[in-house]
């Protein structure tokens, strides 16, 4: 059964997305563990857990859908991915960077961090933000955090 689980997820209202990529920077900053955005990001390549797709007219941001029946969790060869309380988390101490999760995520939502180890959207529940930084920082409120059932 899909769509029967009530939990908040990150959704993007495509017509409102400006393609400004601020969500990517806010994500990278929120997960940097640093309190100064300039120190965290300036002059460094960023590895955000959300990314903007599209062309010069249509844009939208993609991050983990936290699927109810997640392929990434079932396919992980290291037992590093798990789903607890509706949130799919990665245990970075167990991940060996084989990228099988990247091979199977139908949304293209997953990418490794700078060290080749997987990192992913955990809804900012574990970092200092406490709620998704991509949502809080979206200047046009295109990204929202709400209950809608589940994506297909």
């Amino acid at each position: 059964m899909r769509g029967n689980e009530r939990m908040k997820r990150v959704y993007v209202n495509e017509p409102w997305c400006l393609g400004c990529h601020l969500c990517e920077y806010n994500c990278a900053f929120a997960n940097s563990g640093l309190s100064d955005m300039v120190l965290a990001l300036k002059g460094k390549p960023i590895y955000p857990r959300i990314h903007v797709e599209g062309d010069d007219k249509i844009t939208y941001a993609v991050s983990c859908r936290h699927c109810e029946d997640p392929l990434c969790v079932k396919c992980c060869i290291a037992g590093a991915l798990s789903r607890e309380d509706g949130v799919i988390r990665v245990d970075r101490s167990r991940c060996v960077g084989c990228l099988t999760c990247v091979l199977v995520c139908p949304y293209g939502a997953l990418a490794p961090g700078a060290d080749g180890v997987m990192q992913k959207c955990e809804l900012c529940l574990q970092n200092a933000c406490g709620k998704p930084a991509c949502v809080t920082g979206c200047p046009n409120r295109a990204i929202v955090y709400e209950e809608r059932g589940e994506a297909e």
Partner: protein, 410 residues
Amino acid sequence: MKRYVIVGNGVAAAGCIEGIRSVDREGEITVLSEEKHDVYCRPLISYYLEGKTDPERMRYRDPDFYDRMGCRVLYGSRAAHIRPESREVEAEDGTVLPYDALCLATGSTPFVPPMEGLDSVPRTFSFMTLDDALALEGATDKTSRVFIVGAGLIGLKCAEGLCGRVAEITVCDLADRVLSSILDAECAGMVQKHLEKHGIRFLLGDSVRQFKGGTAQMKSGAVVDYDVLVLAVGVRANTGLLREIGGEVGRGIAVNGRMETSVPGIWAAGDCTESEDISCGTRRVLAILPNAVMQGRTAGVNMAGGEAAFDCAIPMNSIGFFGLHIMTAGTYDGDMYEEKTEGSVKRLFTKDDRLLGFILVGCEERAGIYTAMIREKTPLSSVNFDILKKKATTFAFSREIRRKKFEGMV
């Protein structure tokens, strides 16, 4: 109370246990585990040799998994026979286990072809289990010369794992290229070059004429002196238990989408099975961890009286060597779209309005979008393939499909 018996204790068995418990909290589950370890992540044994993980982190489930699931595990126990009339499994030590539902999750065994002089080699190694990795760890040091027979996934992962621990590694294969089961000649050449940069030496299109103790004389005339010999020629599905009672067996135990074998009351899951590869419609052994987990779970749910099917299996691999990632999936048939750069190759295979397979070397971003199209048999006419072939992106789907996928006001 229903009695469940699972032969094997790999990830297919873990999936089966969880599948059973998702339906039946009460039934009695007994697991026959030939290995004396709790279920662990078998593909990580090369990472163990590299020092990137350890047996504790290699656990596939928490230490209290079996307790939590209410399972009895018989470690070091091998099943000898099945008695289908009385629905019993007889273990080698004589223990008799009655079952209402039986799952064979017996995995596979390294296949060692007859090779002349092999009995003159004091000790040979396989590379399938944690114990194999521990044995190799104990048998090698900085001065060891290692000879690996077989340049497939197992042989090459073994080479990578041992690379920093030993003095030299030579790999031979009868095939003229590495990873011949998943790569074409050009991609294999790229991977080989990358491995050679790390000091691994190859003898391809060559095989051993004769072993003499620590020396192998090759058919080409080459001579390999070694201290440690690893045999990684191939594996065979463990089908014997079902074969001897007349169950349907091909290269693996034949199962349907519910993971039922041809014998009532017996299910099978994981590397010991063969099932339909939906990318080409033929039956194959698809010995990869994701299939084992999903088949195991499917078997478990059905054994307990629930309803589950796993009918979208395809071959797929994501494997890296020294930082170079290789992803492959499906079948390499039909028209080929190709893109190459200095360090990467992308090959997409399309036929009859479908993506059938791909090879991606060094360009793995968002590959899951391609994999999903193979698995879901997405009509290419429903997507913008000109965008998609250049870049795996959901933007290539119609707005409507995208809206459904992301369940938003996209």
